[in-house]
């Protein structure tokens, strides 16, 4: 019986394990040094905010793994020896595999500023990070969060839930405007401020000040302003967690290099999720995609490949979602942050300023390219189908009500959006 070993028990590794089990009788082992059981990383913030306990973040009961004959090993892989098909674990034990799946995820980036290693300065990625944050923020008055991305705004929300004053340093001119067009970014920035976050746009961290006993006392921005604080959240992105592969002969660049079958330079070693880097890059995608959904899809694909049905990783149309305090965000297809040549776009915003829709299409063909939605839920299946079919923007605008996924009795905005879209088109039509 072949032995498939998976390094990492996040969404990628666990999805791979589950799907392999559905399709084969192979022996499956998952190794993780983070937790004994799979939990949802995306829910870490809710533990801190008191919405859930850690137990609630486990998608499967503990009995699930035994029932599905998936062995869980709580240990850390220190070395991979591909020729010997062997893993060396921190406990000193070793493990032989027939096929290996690397799903080791990410680790928070560092900025390289002074004071980064002080107590009370940290990123947020793992359960251990959350536990440290719990300790570091107990009873404090003010925190500074650095980095205007998804984890940054989550951290700000977490801290505000405990009534800790938050200064939020964002390098971009609006929150997340390296990803979102300015209109959406501005809307979210306004909303963040409504939650009493001291949002500082276009500002960067200069250094972190020691209080004399190894703990953070303040930060100094690049513009020289000093902000007193007892905690600094550093959320300047994540990088593939591949340090343990050094010297193994497995080819890496930013992440573990994989081909279309998610296979590394060793035919029996695969890499999926945050730690994988696709070469060549798929058109319209990034080489490293650190998103829950892509990790899950790679898990599904690699499971098929390892169980006799080699399947290339071909994600469908891009989609993603997030929530910024009270505003939900969904995106389907491609909505560039900057205006791109050849593309036209239309933005509608609700008068109260907490809902917005941004539609993008090809100027020449009118082919629909993508949509961002804030505060309005959209149907994934509709947009997945429409993007595959290559429908026109006019079709999308006409059929927008079908794609609405808001709860019953919700205020509907499609008529307002459609009429705004028509009047937006008029001048160009003349």
């Amino acid at each position: 019986m072949k032995h498939i070993v998976i390094v990492g028990n996040g969404i990628s590794g666990v999805t791979a394990a589950r799907h392999i089990r559905k399709r084969s009788q192979a022996r499956i082992t998952i190794i993780s040094s983070e937790t004994t059981h799979f939990f949802s990383r995306t829910a870490l913030m809710y533990i801190y905010m008191g919405h859930m306990t850690f137990e609630h973040t486990k998608p499967y009961e503990d009995s699930f793994w035994k029932k599905n004959r998936i062995d869980l090993v709580f240990d850390h892989v220190v070395r991979v020896d591909p020729p010997a098909h062997q893993l060396i674990l921190k406990s000193g034990q070793s493990l032989l595999y027939d096929q290996l799946i690397l799903a080791s995820g990410s680790r928070p980036n560092q900025l390289g500023v002074s004071g980064e290693t002080l107590d009370g300065v940290q990123g947020l990625y793992s359960l251990a990070d959350l536990q440290r944050m719990e300790e570091h923020t107990r009873g404090i008055q003010r925190a500074v969060v650095v980095g205007g991305g998804l984890i940054g705004v989550e951290m700000a929300e977490m801290l505000r839930s405990r009534n800790i004053a938050v200064t939020f340093l964002v390098r971009e001119p609006e929150f997340w405007s390296n990803v979102l067009p300015l209109q959406e970014a501005a809307l979210i920035s306004r909303h963040i401020r409504k939650h009493d976050v001291d949002l500082r746009l276009s500002s960067e961290l200069g250094q972190i000040v020691d209080n004399g006993s190894g703990r953070v006392k303040a930060v100094i921005t690049r513009s020289g302003e000093q902000i007193e604080c007892q905690f600094v959240g550093l959320t300047v992105g994540v990088s593939p967690n591949i340090g343990f592969l050094a010297g193994s002969g497995i080819q890496t660049a930013r992440g573990v290099l994989v081909n279309e079958y998610l296979q590394t330079n060793f035919s029996d070693i695969y890499a999926i999720g945050d730690c994988a880097e696709r070469v060549p890059v798929l058109p319209g995608r990034r080489a490293v995609e650190q998103v829950w959904y892509t990790g899950r899809m790679m898990g599904e694909v690699v499971a098929q490949t390892l169980t006799g049905m080699p399947t290339p990783y071909q994600p469908g149309p891009w989609f993603n979602s997030a929530k910024f305090f009270d505003i939900e965000y969904q995106t389907y297809g491609h909505v560039p942050a900057q205006r791109s040549p050849g593309l036209a776009d239309f933005y509608w915003e609700h008068p109260r300023g907490e809902k917005g829709v941004h539609v993008v299409w090809e100027k020449d063909t009118r082919r629909f390219v993508g949509i961002n939605s804030l505060g309005i839920r959209l149907r994934h299946d509709c947009f997945d189908r429409w993007l595959r079919q290559g429908v026109s923007v006019d079709f999308v605008m006409e059929h927008l009500p079908e794609a609405n996924f808001d709860p019953e009795f919700s205020e509907r905005h499609e008529p307002a959006i459609a009429s705004a879209f028509q009047s937006y088109l008029l001048p160009t039509a003349v």
């Binding site: 995306t42 905010m49 008191g50 859930m52 959904y293 994600p315 469908g316 959209l378 299946d381 996924f405």
Partner: protein, 589 residues
């Protein structure tokens, strides 16, 4: 704002403390007039003759007072047993006269006087002992007859049987409460319930200052919402409240006196325990309904739904039945449906409806139409939520008073397993019980197959109606979540659920591949459905237990879940996550 909140909390604590204090507050003094007002002349005379020094004496607590009443009733029973019961010596005489066989007419010679005692004994022995006529008898057989006469004839006719004693304890205690409270009930009502209400509202309204959106911060850090000491304390209080309400109402007469003026004002009658219960129940739904409305003011679905349960409780469950009583019509809750309303087919209710002309007949037909037409048709079009989270009183309390505890329901597969057999067992119990009751109603025979329909209905009332729906159903809010009754016990929920599972357009749609398995949906599902289990595999949620409260959809941070009514075709959906080319469905693998 913080200031208002803390004053509110103080007022709430003060009002609730007063309320609890009033439970113990009065003195009790039994007056002959009170006894005469609640008993017929003969029994009143008997009771007074046995009450010793209790008359006109002040007793400081209802517990001592009730104990004295019980003793008095027991003495009265002893007295009538002595007067009317058949004595050992009389049995010996009968036995002596019964060789070789017992002849029933011997009783006429044994008790030949025309005193009431002898007349009673003659008749009673003929009623209870004629089966011995012409048989050789033993003293044991004669003793058995005498015991039956004592239990089924003497005590019920002249003394106080179990039911009469229960009623006596309650009505005499209530009539005997003395002190400021019974003199000024309205004042004391305002001091307790009034202050509690004002305090609660002052505590709740400042929540309006928060930005509209999910308000779940800190839930698992709070002692009351995470089964900490405060939750256990509240649960214990609720359980005690229900035990006293259902089984020992004689101890809570002061609370009932508090609402006497309200009851007189609405129905024209003095309050009973269930008026008190309905009054508090409605206030809880209204005040905690306001809280829910504020919490979920960003969601029209919740605004409509909560307004609906507040309306149905206030109008249909509380006011209309009382007003009907005022108009000399049968007490009737037009939105209560059998088998939740388990006594709907009981003889006294059927008789009452049929004795009340066209309105009574309308009520009877209405009740039956709800069962056979409204339930299946409305569940087909809307799901069981039309009842459970829009109309029902139990559901109304769960959605309002119970909302702070929704996260405590167990999501374990083992809990689901228990739930499925338990709720359907209660449904079977309700159907069998009602079948027996109707059989008895139409045939007059209380023996149905192997059971006695009166016994079964009494067991159902105590175990399910009071014990499960009340004590466990609400008392366990802070311990096992707010839908313990609806999930594990309600036979109507079981019936609605069967329709919802097999013939309905309702489902919770999972939005393609957007689920991130965070677990908010499962955590906040009051029915203990592991919503995430379906959502994370891209499958719709179709579960008989889902009451359609819509909170899973609200707390989802990624817009994954939506309550929908659509075509039945492909309602369950496929377990496949949108967005991945070349991947086969989970189910097919």
């Amino acid at each position: 704002m913080k200031f208002v909140k803390w004053i509110g909390l103080s007022l709430f604590v003060a009002g609730f403390s007063f309320f609890n204090y009033f439970f113990f507050a009065s003195d009790y003094r039994l007056m002959p007039d009170g006894v005469k007002a609640h008993l017929d002349d003969a029994r009143a005379a008997l009771f007074l003759s046995q009450s010793g020094d209790l008359i006109d004496r002040t007793v400081a607590s209802q517990f001592d007072f009730v104990a004295e009443l019980k003793l008095t009733a027991a003495r009265a029973n002893k007295r009538v047993e002595h007067d009317y019961g058949i004595q050992e010596s009389e049995l010996q005489k009968l036995l002596a006269a019964s060789a070789p066989v017992f002849l029933i007419h011997r009783v006429d010679s044994l008790w030949r006087d025309s005193t009431p005692e002898h007349e009673f004994k003659r008749k009673a022995f003929r009623d209870y002992g004629s089966w011995l006529d012409g048989q050789p008898v033993t003293i044991d057989q004669l003793t058995l007859v005498a015991d039956n006469i004592r239990q089924y004839a003497v005590i019920p006719t002249f003394g106080f049987d179990r039911y009469a004693t229960k009623g006596l304890l309650y009505s005499l205690t209530k009539a005997s409460s003395t002190g400021p409270l019974p003199k000024q009930p309205l004042l004391f009502l305002l001091l307790s319930v009034g202050l509690t209400l004002v305090g609660a509202l002052m505590f709740i309204f400042p929540k309006l200052a928060r930005h509209p959106g999910i308000q779940n911060n800190g839930i698992f850090f709070q002692a009351i919402k995470n089964t900490g000491w405060l939750g256990v304390l509240l649960g214990s209080w609720l359980i005690l409240f229900y035990v006293v309400l259902y089984f020992y109402p004689e101890y809570m007469v002061n609370w009932i006196i508090l609402v006497d003026p309200v009851s007189r004002w609405i129905s024209g009658h003095e309050a009973g325990r269930f008026f008190l219960y309905g009054f508090i129940y409605t206030l809880c739904i209204l005040v905690m309904g306001v809280r829910f409305l504020i919490h979920y003011r960003h969601s029209s679905y919740h605004l409509w739904r909560t307004a609906s349960v507040m309306f149905f409780q206030t109008a249909f469950a509380f006011l209309i039945p009382e007003i009907l009583v005022r108009l000399n019509q049968p007490y009737f809750d037009f939105k209560n449906i059998w088998p939740l309303d388990y006594s709907f087919f009981f003889d006294y209710r059927l008789d009452q409806l049929m004795a009340n002309g066209s309105l009574g007949i309308f009520m009877l037909v209405w009740g039956i139409v709800l069962i056979v037409v409204a339930v299946p048709v409305l569940v087909y079009f809307f799901g069981k939520r039309w009842y459970c989270s829009w109309v029902c009183g139990c559901g109304g309390l769960a959605e309002t008073l119970g909302d702070p505890f929704r996260q405590l329901s167990s999501k374990k597969i083992s809990a689901w397993r228990v739930e499925r057999w338990m709720i359907h067992a209660v449904l079977v119990f309700a159907v069998v019980m009602t079948g027996g009751v109707l059989y008895t109603y139409f045939t007059g025979s209380s023996q149905v197959l192997f059971f006695n329909s009166y016994d079964v209905r009494e067991w159902y009332g105590a175990l399910i109606g009071a014990g499960f729906a009340g004590v466990v159903g609400t008392g366990f809010y802070p311990l096992m979540g707010n839908r313990v009754w609806c999930r594990f016990g309600c036979p109507l929920a079981a019936y609605l659920g069967l329709v919802q599972r097999f013939k309905s357009r309702f489902r919770i749609t999972t939005n393609g591949g957007q689920c991130i398995s965070c677990g908010n949906c499962s955590t906040f599902c009051e029915m203990g459905i592991d919503v995430r289990w379906y959502a994370q595999r891209g499958q719709n949620i179709v579960r008989s237990s889902c009451v359609g409260c819509g909170v899973c959809s609200s707390v989802c941070p990624r817009g994954v879940l939506n309550l929908e009514v659509r075509d039945e075709a492909n309602r369950f959906g496929q377990p496949v996550l949108t967005g991945n080319n070349g991947v086969v469905e989970e189910g097919r693998a």
